[in-house]
Symmetry: none
Subunit: 224 residues, 2 copies
Amino acid sequence: MQKTILIIEDDNEINNMLCILLQQNGYKTVSAFSGTEGILVHGGNISLILLDLMLPGKSGEEIICELKEKHNVPVIVMSAIHDISKKVNLFSLGADDYVTKPFHNDELLARISARLRKNTDISVSETLIYKDIILNNTDYSVTCNGKSVELSKHEFALLKLLMENPKRTCTKSIIYDTVWDYENSADDNTLNVHMSKLRKKLKECNPDEDYIETVWGIGYRLKK
Amino acid sequence: MQKTILIIEDDNEINNMLCILLQQNGYKTVSAFSGTEGILVHGGNISLILLDLMLPGKSGEEIICELKEKHNVPVIVMSAIHDISKKVNLFSLGADDYVTKPFHNDELLARISARLRKNTDISVSETLIYKDIILNNTDYSVTCNGKSVELSKHEFALLKLLMENPKRTCTKSIIYDTVWDYENSADDNTLNVHMSKLRKKLKECNPDEDYIETVWGIGYRLKK
DNA sequence: TAATTATTTAAGACTTATTTAAGATTTGAT
DNA sequence: ATCAAATCTTAAATAAGTCTTAAATAATTA
C-alpha cells in the first residue's frame, strides 16, 4: 500500500525536489511550506513527516510536539545544523531521525524506509469522543449510544475527519483530499451518498440525535 | 528496569570504553569481540545491540541477519565507512540505525535511547489466552477447546500477533511487517491464504466459534 | 419562483476477501 | 547430499462487501 509523506519545507525548490524524489520512489506526498501549515494539513493519512528545521514562525521543537500530538508518526528532521547538542534535543523531543543538508537521496530514502518499517508498533491507541460517539482509531471501531456501529472504510474516515476537527467546517474539497486522496469535481455525488449512509447508521443507534450538520455550498461539520 | 546492551566490537579498548559509557548512563552491558561470539551470547535478555561493522569473520550483513533471527531487537551499526550505498544495504538488511566513527557520546546515547523508546512495549508473556484458545510462547504450542492445534510457523505468528493485540485491528501492512518481515503489495494473497488456513484449523477444534473477524479494506481482529 | 445544491434510493461496477489447488520452496531426516 | 514431507506462495475461480453513478426528490438560496 502506498504511504503518504508530509513534507514541511519552506524552500519551494527543495520542497518540489523532494516531492519528485519521493513520488518516483512510490510514495504519495503532501507539501506544506511552514510549520503551522504542516500542523494544519497533518492528519490520519500521513505515515511520516519530513520536517525542515529552519522554518519561519514556531520553533522546530514546538512543531514536532504539536505534530506528534495530533497524530503520532515518525518525524525525520532535515537540518543544516551539525551541532550535536541540537540533535540530542530533537531526539528527546520526539524526532525519530535527522539528516543534515545537503543529503544524499539514497540515504534519505533509506532512513524513510527504515522509519516506516519500524512504525508498526501498534501501541498508540487514539480514541476520539464526540457526544455519545466513541471512535477508536486503533481497532477501527465506532460505538454510538453504547451500540457498535459497522462502518465501511470511507465512512470511518469521514467520521474520523469530522471528529478530528470538531469545531471546523470540513469543506468538500478537504474531505475529498483526505478521505479519497483526490480532488473531485463539484458535481460528484459520492461524498453526499457516503454522508447519507453514515448519518443513517448513526441515526439507527440514536434516533434522537443529529450529529452532522450540512454547511450549504461548503461542506459539513459536527453540531455544537 | 535496567536494559542490557550487547556490544559487539573487536577492538578491546573501544569495547571497554563503550561499556563504561553505557554503564555510567544506566545500562547493563554484555561484551563480545567477534560477530560469531555476539550471536552466541545474544539472547532474550538483550534489549539492543551495538555492532561494529569491521569485524573479522562473517560479514556484517550475515551477522545482522542471524542476530535478528535469534531475537529481534534494534541493531545500531558503528562503522568508519561513510559509503552511502553500504548504509543503504545495512538498512535494507535490518540495521535500525548507524553511527559513523568517531562518534560523539551524546549522539550515540541519543540514538540508543531513541531506538529503545520505540521498543519498550513489547512485553513477552509466556502464555496468551483468548476465549478457549491457549497459546504458549515458549514451546510454540496452541490448544483450542482443549484440543491441540498444529500450526505452521506463519500461522502461529499470525495468531500470536492477534492474541497480543486482542482489542485492536491488525492492519495488513502491520501483519506483513510482523509476520513476514517485509511489506507486501496490497494485491498479495499470501496473508489471506494463511488466514484462511488458520481459521479452518481453529474451526476444526471448535465448530461453534468464530474467532477472527475481517475488517474490510483494513485487516483482521479478534472478535469481542 | 427559478436555480442551485443536497439527500436518498437502487442498481451495477468495482474492489477486496475467501477458498481451492498446484507448483515452488523450505525443512528435516536419512 | 538426497529425498520426502511439510509449508509457503501463486494463481484462478468464486463470493462478499463497498463504491460510484444516475435519477428522482427535497431543501435552500437569490
